[in-house]
């Protein structure tokens, strides 16, 4: 397998109220070019921190050790790093908001450009969409910035992207504003914006967690199709091991900032090596699981 990126001994620490939180501890892993790779774990396990570190989007106040090495042969070197408009301000997380966000002092070779080489889809699509800008303009803006297209070419590109993410009425969607769309439609738009510049890597961080099951399945199918058609590498971040297993070829299990187990999906699901992975699998409530209702002596 050809590695797209190699992470070695990655440690990320946040400062909060004077104390330090180690969000990732000595994580080493490779992501292969073209694979569908899932990062799973319970909340606070460091999944988003890893995704942000890979995208070069950690808040400036974070402390980073170790390295993320990119192995892209034809990586376009950025002249300057400017997070594009599709990346949300993470104001829920960092006090200073987006202005604070800059690539951390992390040892990387051929730092890729967020928005162009990496597309990022977040849980809340509203966070990455400008509420007062028509959707067509937002997507066209990404295409124009990163692909050097004229405005009319960009707008045509925006329309074809809205068709690709299968919005029911792409022409109407171009002129619509985010609040006029349902949650699932907004996420389709966010995906269109994320892939507008033809990124090598698509990162989806809990991108379907706020959606109902039916819409979630549609979005997962869409991501699968887009990734296959464009030959993108997928980093799928989820708290749901069953969902991750339906999409990913390999799964990395995180707990308390540590990489607990990494393996092929079939191995992780059928013969997990780590007790924690097994516990996560046991806690999953599937449609065919023995109902808790019927289990004898229901005690905590």
């Amino acid at each position: 397998m050809t590695a797209l990126l190699s992470i070695r001994d990655l440690t990320v620490t946040y400062r909060r109220d004077g104390s330090e939180v180690a969000a990732l501890k000595h994580v080493s892993l490779d992501v292969a070019a073209g694979e569908r790779f899932a990062i799973i774990g319970e909340s606070g396990s460091g999944k988003s921190t890893l995704a942000l570190a890979i995208a070069g989007l950690l808040p400036g106040s974070s402390k980073v050790g170790g390295s993320i090495e990119w192995k892209l042969p034809n990586l376009r070197l950025p002249h300057s790093f400017a997070p594009p408009s599709v990346l949300p301000d993470m104001s829920g997380r960092t006090e200073g908001g987006a202005t604070e966000r800059r690539p951390s002092a992390i040892a990387t070779s051929h730092m890729p450009l967020g928005g162009r080489d990496i597309g990022f889809v977040f849980q809340d699509p509203s966070a990455s969409l400008d509420p007062v800008m028509a959707i067509g303009e937002q997507i066209a803006e990404v295409a124009r910035t990163h692909l050097g297209l004229t405005w009319s070419q960009s707008y045509a590109k925006a329309k074809s992207l809205l068709e690709r993410v299968r919005l029911p009425d792409p022409d109407a969607a171009l002129r619509a504003y985010p609040h006029q769309l349902s949650g699932g439609q907004k996420q389709r738009v966010a995906i269109a914006a994320a892939i507008a510049a033809g990124p090598k890597l698509l990162i989806a961080d809990e991108a379907t967690s706020a959606l109902d099951t039916i819409v979630q399945a549609e979005i997962v199918a869409l991501i699968r199709q887009l990734v296959a058609e464009d030959g993108m590498t997928l980093l799928f971040v989820s708290h749901d091991i069953a969902l991750a297993a339906e999409l990913a070829e390999r799964i990395a299990v995180f707990r308390h900032g540590e990489l607990v187990e990494l393996g092929a999906t079939a191995q992780i699901i059928a013969s997990p090596r780590h007790a924690y992975t097994r516990a996560l699998l046991d806690a999953h409530l599937g449609l065919d699981a023995e109902p808790l209702l019927r289990q004898a002596g229901a005690t905590r």
Binding site: R36, E42, S43, S182, G183, L211, D212, T213, I214, V215, Q216, A217, H239, D240, I241, A242, L243, A245, E246, L247, A248, E249, A264, T265, A266, I268, I269, A270, A279, L280, L281, A283, H284, L285, G286, L287, D288, A289, P291, L292, L293, A298, T299, R300
Partner: protein, 266 residues
Amino acid sequence: MSSPLLAVSGLTKRYRRGGKTIAAVDDISFHIEPGETLALAGPSGSGKSTIARLVLRLIEPDAGHIEFEGGDFLSLNGAALRARRARLQMVFQDPLAAFNPRAMVARVLDDPLRTHGVASRPERTRRIAALLERVGLSADLAARAIHEVSGGQRQRIAIARAIATKPSLIVLDEAVSALDVSVRRQILQLLLDLQRQERIAYLFISHDLGVISAIAHRVVILDAGRVAESGNARAVIGAPQSAIGKALVAAAPKLNRTSQGAADRQ
């Protein structure tokens, strides 16, 4: 069969939106027996939360009847309504969000006890400690600030608040949806324990059929404000008849723990 605990019939709620009227809840009928869990399932926008709010009388219906504990619930008001409300409680996705995060956990539990006539402060303090222990928490937690407790603990506190007034029915709207799987399982177990011991009935709203098939006796599947199908939870989920029931079952993530991963299934 004895008379049901809750009987809803012909329940309808319309909203005006952009000049059009939509029926968020459209002629819905169902009943819940004492000590039973009835689940409401359906895609987002199908009317689940509107039904919860109607049953709790947070909003009033345009048509329909609600019988609760043998009486006409919709005709109650004033003191009679307040008294009956003690028997009908709720737990939402983040029920402590309404509280000042710096407020103490004891505050959350003190309110319902006071409103429902537990007058003496030492008695309330005793009851608060007992409630916390009842939901598997340490009584010391009473003195902690709300923002200091974890997601799972918050949901236990919300359940403690709900059972403080000895309800016969609790409406839970996506109450476990935001929890991690292991915590979710513990909370479901707690709900089952309380149901067994106190014979509490639940109107359990979730879009997650896995959760529903684990804890519900019966299920009503909604589509665009109407009942698509209903019946024994395991039977309906095992062999859905309606289009929306089939779509919900097909969309639920499945773990195939014995053989090849589903990723290879393309």
